[in-house]
C-alpha cells in the first residue's frame, strides 16, 4: 500500500475498501480475545481456515479472527455473518459440522447455541441473546467485526474518517469545544471532564507537548482497556491523533502494562500500519500536522496507573507519584504540558467527532454522558464485558445482561471500581451507574471493574483481600499510604482470624479516614474505599466477626465451623472423597460426620455437596 499523501487520497482509499466489502458474503468470525484464546479459540479459527481450504471454498467464505466479543463466559465464540448465528463453547472438533450444516447449508446446530440459564430455551441469533440485546455497544462495536491486525478492516468501516474530518480544516479550539460539549469524562476512574483537560493543556505554552494513553489497567478483574487495545487498536490511535491535533502536540506515548502482550503486539502492528499509510508521521496527509506514537511498556506496578507515577516511569524513573499542585497539563512528561487519557476515553473520541457531540450528549445520565464498558466478573452467570449507557442501574447490568447469580445463591454485594472502589449491597441494586451516583454511594466508577458476590462471600475478607493487594502495590513513598494501609491490613487480619477487639473497629475507621484524606496520590486516597464501604453497608458482619467470632459466609477459616445436616445428607460420599485432610467419615445410608480436630474449614465439602447439606454452624 502506497503512503496516502492527501486527505482526498484517504477518502478515495476508504471508498475503494468499502466497495470491496460484500456484506452478503459469508464470513465466519471467531473471537480472538484473550479469554477465548485461553480456551483454544485460535485453534478453532485455524481449523476453519484449514477445512475451508480443503473443501476448496476458502475464496467464497471468509474467516476472521476478531477482537473480544465480551461474552467471555461462553467462549470460544463463533459468529456466522451475515446470518448472525452465534455458537458458544466451540471446540476445534465442532468446526467440520458447523461448516457443512450451518455455513454451507442453513441448519442450526442446537447443541452449540446459547442456552438461557435456568431454562431449556436455546437462542441462536446473537442479537436476541439478552446479554447482547440489552447492551449499547459503541466503543466496542468495532471489535467484534474487524481483524485488529488489519488497518483495511478499520478504514472500511469508516475508521480514520473522524481524523480526516478534523484535518480538513476544523480549528483545534472547535474540536475541544465539541469534546467539552459532549460531556465526555475520563474513563480511567477520576471522571474529570476530558474537554477541560484538553483546553488547559492547549493553553499551556511550550515548544513540545505530549499526549499519553494510559493502558496500565491493573485492577484485578478488569480487562476493558485490554480488550479495546487488543481488539480495536486503531480507534485508540485515531483518538490520540485527534487529541494531539487539538492540543498542539506532536508526540504520543501509549503506556501498556507488560502483562498485556497481545495488546502490545496489536498496538505495535497498528502503529506500523498507520505509519505506512501516512496516518502517523511527518506532515500527515499533506497537512502541517505531524504526530507519532511510541509504546512504553510498564513493568507491572499498579501505582503506575496514576498519572504522575506513569510519567515518571516513562521518563525512566521509579514509578512514584508526586503532589499535583502543578497540573500535568502544565508540567507533565519531561516537564512539558501533557495530556493523559485512558484507553477507553481515547476510543470514544472518533465517535464523538464522527457522530457529533449532540449525539453523544444525548446518551447517558445528567452529568455522565455516553456509554461505559464494564467487566463483570465473580458470581454472575455471564461474566464478560458489557457496554451500557451511563445511568443504567446495577440491577440491569447484573440481572438483565449478566443473568444474575448462579447456583440459586443470593446476591450479597458488588464491588465496583476494583480495589479502589467500594462494595455496594443489595439495597443499592437500583442505583444508577454513573460517576456521581457511585461516588455518592461510597464507591467509584474506577476503570469499570465489577465483582459480583453472593452470600458465600465474606465482606470482611473481601476488604482484607483488596487491602492486601494495595499494601503490596503502594509505592511506599508517603507515610499515610505505606504505613496506614499496612495497619489497616493488620487490623483486618486480626478480624478475620478472630483476634480483634471491639475497639479495633473504631481504630480501623479512624485510620481509613486518615489514609483517604492524607495520601499523596489516588492509590492511597482510594485505598480505604473497600473497607469504608463495607463498614458502612455490612457493619453487622464486622461485629459478628469480632463479637461472636463467627463468619457467616464460611470463608474465614478460623471463624468457621461446618456442619452436615442430618435431614439433607444423602450419604453420597462426595464430601468424603474431596476432603483434603480426610476429616469426614461415614458410610452408605449414614449421615456423614466431620471430625473437628482434623477439619481445616476449607469449605470444599460445602462446594461439592449436591444437596446443600453442608453449611456453617
Amino acid at each position: 500500500m502506497p503512503k496516502l499523501g492527501t486527505i482526498n487520497e484517504l477518502t478515495a482509499y476508504a471508498q475503494e475498501l468499502k466497495a470491496q466489502c460484500d456484506p452478503s458474503k459469508p464470513c465466519v468470525t471467531v473471537c480472538g480475545g484473550t479469554g477465548c484464546r485461553a480456551n483454544h479459540g485460535l485453534e478453532v479459527a485455524s481449523m476453519f481456515e484449514k477445512l475451508l481450504k480443503e473443501k476448496g471454498v476458502c475464496d467464497d467464505i471468509d474467516v476472521r479472527t476478531t477482537g473480544c466479543h465480551g461474552f467471555c463466559a461462553q467462549g470460544p465464540l463463533v459468529v456466522l455473518v451475515p446470518k448472525g448465528v452465534l455458537y458458544v463453547s466451540v471446540k476445534p472438533t465442532d468446526v467440520e459440522e458447523i461448516i457443512t450444516s450451518s455455513v454451507q447449508a442453513d441448519e442450526i446446530i442446537e447443541r452449540l447455541t446459547y442456552r438461557l440459564p435456568g431454562t431449556k430455551k436455546r437462542i441462536a441469533k446473537e442479537e436476541e441473546i439478552p446479554f447482547y440485546a440489552n447492551q449499547k455497544r459503541l466503543v466496542f462495536a468495532g471489535s467484534t467485526k474487524m481483524d485488529p491486525t488489519r488497518i483495511e478492516d478499520y478504514i472500511a468501516v469508516g475508521g480514520y474518517s473522524s481524523f480526516r474530518k478534523v484535518l480538513s480544516g476544523v480549528e483545534p479550539e472547535e474540536i475541544i469545544d465539541w469534546v467539552e460539549k459532549s460531556g465526555l469524562r475520563g474513563r480511567g476512574g477520576g471522571g474529570f471532564q476530558t474537554g477541560r483537560k484538553w483546553r488547559s493543556c492547549r493553553k499551556s505554552q511550550a515548544a513540545t507537548k505530549y499526549v499519553i494513553c494510559n493502558g496500565d489497567e491493573g485492577d484485578p478483574g478488569a480487562f476493558i482497556d485490554r480488550s479495546i487495545m487488543e481488539g480495536n487498536p486503531h480507534s485508540v490511535l485515531e483518538g490520540m491523533a485527534i487529541g494531539a491535533y487539538a492540543i498542539g502536540s506532536n508526540h504520543g506515548y501509549i503506556y501498556v502494562r507488560l502483562e498485556y502482550p497481545l495488546a502490545i503486539e496489536n498496538l505495535q502492528i497498528a502503529i506500523e500500519q498507520a505509519r505506512e499509510h501516512g496516518l502517523l508521521g511527518d506532515n500527515i496527509l499533506g497537512t502541517d500536522f505531524s504526530f507519532d506514537i511510541l509504546i512504553s511498556r510498564g513493568a507491572g506496578a499498579f501505582v503506575c496507573g496514576e498519572s504522575t507515577a506513569l510519567m515518571a516511569s516513562i521518563e525512566g524513573f521509579v514509578g512514584e507519584p508526586r503532589a499535583k499542585h502543578i497540573h500535568t497539563t502544565e508540567k507533565g512528561l519531561f516537564g512539558m504540558p501533557t495530556n493523559l487519557n485512558n484507553v477507553e476515553t481515547w476510543a470514544n473520541i472518533p465517535l464523538i467527532i464522527e457522530k457529533g457531540w449532540q449525539w453523544f450528549a444525548g446518551i447517558g445520565s445528567k452529568n455522565s454522558k455516553g456509554t461505559k464498558v464494564f467487566s463483570v466478573v465473580g458470581k454472575v452467570r455471564n461474566t464478560g464485558l458489557v457496554e451500557v449507557p451511563m445511568g443504567i442501574t446495577l440491577r440491569e447490568i447484573i440481572y438483565d445482561i449478566c443473568g444474575g447469580v448462579p447456583d440459586n445463591r443470593k446476591f450479597k454485594g458488588v464491588q465496583t471500581g476494583g480495589p479502589s472502589g467500594g462494595c455496594l449491597p443489595e439495597e443499592k441494586l437500583d442505583l444508577q451507574v454513573d460517576f456521581d451516583c457511585l461516588t455518592e454511594a461510597g464507591s467509584m466508577m474506577g476503570s469499570g471493574g465489577m465483582i459480583v458476590m453472593d452470600d458465600r462471600s465474606c465482606m470482611v475478607e473481601v476488604a482484607r483481600y483488596f487491602t492486601e493487594f494495595l499494601t503490596r502495590e503502594s509505592c511506599g513513598k508517603c507515610t499515610a499510604c505505606r504505613e496506614g494501609v499496612m495497619q489497616m491490613l493488620e487490623i483486618l487480619d486480626r478480624m478475620t482470624t478472630g483476634k480483634a477487639e471491639m475497639s479495633d473497629i473504631d481504630l480501623l475507621e479512624e485510620v481509613c479516614l486518615y489514609v483517604k484524606e492524607n495520601s499523596i496520590c489516588g492509590l492511597g486516597k482510594s485505598a480505604p474505599n473497600p473497607t469504608l464501604s463495607s463498614l458502612k453497608y455490612f457493619r453487622d458482619e464486622y461485629l459478628e466477626h469480632i463479637e461472636h467470632k463467627r463468619c457467616r459466609a464460611g470463608i474465614c477459616r478460623d471463624l468457621t465451623t461446618f456442619i452436615i445436616s442430618d435431614d439433607k445428607c444423602k450419604a453420597c460420599g462426595k464430601c468424603i472423597k474431596s476432603c483434603p485432610v480426610e476429616a469426614i467419615t461415614g458410610q452408605k445410608k449414614v449421615t456423614h460426620v466431620i471430625d473437628y480436630d482434623a477439619c481445616i474449614s476449607c469449605g470444599v465439602c460445602r462446594e461439592v455437596c449436591p444437596f446443600d447439606a453442608v453449611d456453617t454452624k
Partner: protein, 256 residues
C-alpha cells in the same frame, strides 16, 4: 516577580509566586513539624507531618505545606483540630514503624503520641523512609550511591543490588541528615566504615598533622569539582591554624 497575597494563621503576607508554604510559615515564625523536608532539597511530601488546612474560595482541604506552592490567594491554618488530628495520626504511624527511634520521642510527645495504638514493627531498625539521605546523596553530592528498593511497606533504602556501595564516597551527609540515627558510620584511623551501606573507605592523612581526616574518594570528588583550583590536603584544624597564622604574620608585618 509577581507578589501573591496569602494568609497564614490570620497573618496576611505577600510572597513571591511559587514560594513553598512551609518556607513562608517558618519565616513568620510558625512552627511546622516535618521529618522529610530540607530547604536545600526540593519538595517531597513523604512524612505527612507538615499538613496544614488550606482554604481557597469555598474549598477547604488538608495539604502538606512542604509541597504546596503559593500561586494564588490561599488561607492557610496550621493549628486546626483537623491538622492536629492528622499530624498525630501520621506520627503514630511513624512511631509504629520505628518504635525505638528515640530522637523522635520529643516530637511525638509534642504531637500527643506516647504509645502507638498500632502493632509496632521491629524488623527494620529506625528508618522512616524520609528519603533525606537518598535525595542528599543524589541532588547535592551528585553521587547517588544509595536509593530505594521494593514497594509499599517492604520499601527500604539500600545500595545497588544490596551489595557494597562502591559509589559511596564516605561524605557522611546521609548520617548528618538522618532524623532517626538509622544511618551509621564509624571512623577507625585509616578507614571510614559506612556501616549501613557496607562501604569501607580509605582515609587520607593531613599533610601537616598526619591525622586521617577525609576519605580519599571524597577528596577526589571535591578536587574534580574545583576544576583546576588546587585543594590542599590539610585537615580543617590545621587549615584554620594555617589561616590564622598567615593572618597573624600579615598583621605583624604591617605593624612592623
Amino acid at each position: 516577580m509577581a507578589k501573591i497575597k496569602t494568609i497564614i494563621d490570620g497573618i496576611e503576607v505577600e510572597v513571591e509566586r511559587d514560594s513553598w508554604a512551609i518556607d513562608v510559615a517558618r519565616e513568620l515564625g510558625i512552627d511546622i513539624p516535618t521529618l522529610c523536608y530540607h530547604p536545600a532539597l526540593g519538595p517531597y511530601g513523604a512524612c505527612r507531618l507538615c499538613v496544614v488546612e488550606v482554604t481557597k474560595s469555598k474549598w477547604t482541604w488538608l495539604a502538606t505545606a512542604c509541597d504546596l506552592p503559593i500561586r494564588e490567594e490561599l488561607s492557610i491554618k496550621t493549628n486546626t483540630p483537623e491538622v492536629i488530628r492528622s499530624r498525630k495520626m501520621a506520627m503514630e504511624l511513624i512511631m509504629a514503624r520505628a518504635p525505638r527511634a528515640e530522637s523522635l520521642f520529643p516530637l511525638a510527645e509534642k504531637l500527643g503520641v506516647t504509645k502507638p495504638r498500632f502493632k509496632c514493627r521491629d524488623d527494620i531498625g529506625n528508618c522512616i523512609l524520609c528519603g533525606l539521605c537518598v535525595r542528599m546523596c543524589d541532588q547535592i553530592i551528585g553521587v547517588s550511591a544509595i536509593n530505594f528498593a521494593n514497594r509499599g511497606h517492604k520499601r527500604i533504602v539500600t545500595t545497588p543490588l544490596h551489595k557494597k556501595a562502591d559509589k559511596c564516597i564516605g561524605c557522611n551527609v546521609c548520617v548528618e541528615v538522618c532524623p532517626t540515627g538509622h544511618v551509621k558510620t564509624l571512623d577507625d584511623g585509616s578507614f571510614r566504615h559506612m556501616q549501613t551501606w557496607d562501604a569501607d573507605l580509605e582515609m587520607l592523612h593531613c599533610l601537616i598533622c598526619d591525622k586521617p581526616y577525609i576519605p580519599a574518594k571524597q577528596f577526589k570528588v571535591i578536587s574534580d569539582k574545583l576544576e583546576g583550583i588546587e585543594l590542599k590536603r590539610i585537615c580543617p584544624v590545621c587549615r584554620r591554624k594555617e589561616t590564622v597564622d598567615n593572618l597573624r604574620y600579615a598583621v605583624v608585618e604591617k605593624v612592623s
